[in-house]
Amino acid sequence: MKNEHIKNNQEYKYGFTTDIESIRAPKGLTEDTIKFISSIKKEPKWMLDWRLKAFNRLKALKEPDWQKPKYPKIDYQNLYYYSAPKSASEKPQSLDDIDPKILETYKKLGIPLVEQQRLNGIAVDAVFDSVSVATTFKDELTKKGIIFCSISEAIQKHPDLVKKYLGSVIPLSDHYFATLNSAVFTDGSFVYIPPNTKCPMELSTYFRINASETGQFERTLIIADKGSYVSYLEGCTAPMRDENQLHAANVELVALDDAEIKYSTVQNWYPGDKNGVGGIYNFVTKRGACRGKNSKISWTQVETGSAITWKYPSCILQGDNSVGEFYSIAITNNFQKADTGTKMIHLGKNTKSKIISKGISAGNADNMYRGLVDINHKASNARNYTQCDSLLMGNKCGAHTVPYIKNKNATSTIEHEATTTKINEEQLFYCNQRGLDQEEAVSLIVNGFCKEVLQQLPMEFAVEAQKLVAISLEGSVG
């Protein structure tokens, strides 16, 4: 009985709603909605034009349907595209101006924004529904010439950088969801690291969906100028609701000569209940361009939430000697589905990529690794190493691996390893015999299985991620 109680409490502890008055755009996907978003954000005309151009392209595009997890048709006219806490309609100038209810929400989520309790050495941009409500440690970063602010603020204050790079990695008309995002994106983070600067702290964005019937379309743009380094982390949660909510984000990374971007995601959107009702549709486009020579982009993702996760954080390895990495843990339990992986596009000489994917499937869930390694004819001496491991728990779940390899250069080296294992009863017995209960045993074994990916996360988040891995799989064995 006691165990049952604890289990229920831990199920999805971020599932609460904050009762707050919000301003919303009228329902539906129309030119007026886009104009509303642009005008409430006081955007310059070029930005509105860009959005409208995307909207026009969208009309000619079809929603893709090649993915494995199918979902009921989304009624795009029945969604809100903008929802913001009323108190944030004028972006608060300081933390004192932020609605206490919002501060309380982030505190509950473990992301304190107020000065005294800030996370040590981590600057946070907090996005609540469609707007950024606070960015911490701004002054300290400004001294080094680092820009870390909401994308809305960047459009106002740094239009040249935004114009130059926005849409340069994910073109306006890339595919349905990316184009939808370009038309209606509401907020997200903007980062610029000046040449030869090592960002002195972790930058992070915390995304929170609160309002119902609302899609979240965030846009993140990170530019690492020559010889710079930045480590960035995003986290996400949402309330528990019976409806499915759409989250279609675009994330663009640009690394110039000798620059490095490390991008980590801990995705814990509401996954739906035990019977597969509700949960977030997490349809995200993430792409990084290693534009300069010797540049490096490393994606690490821990995907535990969402009803459906559908994303392929990718690297375009343009610069000679550039490096792309993808480390992924995707956990699906109950009726969750994931179709995730990466694309490594090798264009420059001596480019290297590494893919480590760990898929864990329990309950009735389905987990797919889908990846592309594409070696261009000019990419001499390119190397790729791919390792895809799947772990199954129980006999109603599925694991699939679909690696695409296109090789047009004979000097390249491509390695692919894949394993599928079932969680081993003998291992569980061994752990039980050493005093660990079933859940502790599963947590230990699964964390071991994921170790290579977990150790890529910044220290501050690795422990949290380990706990999350354990919680996501509670009740899946025994």
């Binding site: 039980n432 015999q433 050493r434 660990l436 079933q438 230990l444 074994i445 299985f449 994921c450």
Partner: protein, 244 residues
């Protein structure tokens, strides 16, 4: 401490244990010998709570009916099984496994959980006592360990968890003489008036180093003979077939 009365166990509708009786008191060392397939490992598995057996009869451990208890509770109550084939758990550091295990047991016993520093100090001491190289504590649990290292690791875990009843399931098989001595030293140094051992083995060899109080011969699911430490030497000469 342990009272087994008329224990019968069936697996896949095959009767393996056919009415086994055994009493173990604190401070005693019991050895079970017997031919292959006589049910020795089944007994070890049943005592530690492995699933998959249909069980009849009584198993009483310090006044508790063991049959009702899940594996981890038995472990927390002080039953330890040194595995014949210790499992590999990739990606899990041996130190972390041992700490998690010790703290789970301590917690269940109402003792304070140990922080990392205190734990590391303790585990290094225990490893040193056993002559185990502490380097292996930072390797992945049993992954790439030699047969001897795995068995030594089992004995280290035993000393760490301080069980009341330690069951050694053919811990001596596949050991060279040095590793065998380490295992035997581990047992002898831990042995006291409060705890007991059940040693399952094929060979007299281990019993030259660990003196048992009783030797039982298990054959076809029953104990057919019980004797003192001398019985082992006798068996070595005559084999099991001439008994009964």
């Amino acid at each position: 401490m342990l009272k087994i009365k008329n224990l019968k166990a069936t697996v896949d509708s095959k009767l393996i244990l056919k009415g086994l009786n055994l009493n173990i008191k604190p401070g005693e060392v019991h050895a079970i010998m017997g031919p292959n397939g006589s049910g020795k490992s089944t007994l070890a598995n049943i005592l530690s709570g492995k699933k998959g057996y249909e069980i009849e009869g009584e198993i009483n451990f310090n006044g508790i009916d063991l049959k009702e208890l899940p594996t981890e509770t038995r472990a927390q109550q002080g039953i330890f099984l040194a595995f014949q084939y210790p499992l590999e758990i990739p990606g899990v550091n041996t130190n972390i496994f041992l700490k998690t295990s010790l703290n789970a047991v301590r917690k269940a016993r109402g003792e304070k959980e140990l922080d990392t520093l205190t734990f590391l100090k303790l585990i290094k001491e225990k490893a040193l006592e056993l002559g185990i190289d502490e380097k292996f504590l930072s390797r992945q649990l049993n992954v790439g360990f030699s047969g001897g290292e795995k068995k030594k690791n089992e004995i280290l875990q035993m000393k760490l968890l301080e069980p009341k009843l330690s069951i050694l399931d053919e811990t001596d098989s596949g050991l060279d003489i040095d590793a065998l001595k380490i295992v035997a030293n581990g047992v002898n140094s831990y042995k006291n008036k409060e705890n007991a051992f059940l040693i399952i083995t094929h060979y007299q060899r281990l019993l030259d180093y660990i003196k048992p109080d009783y030797i039982h011969v298990l054959s076809d699911g029953k104990i057919i003979k019980t004797g003192s430490a001398d019985l082992g030497g006798q068996l070595e000469k005559t084999g099991y077939t001439n008994l009964s």
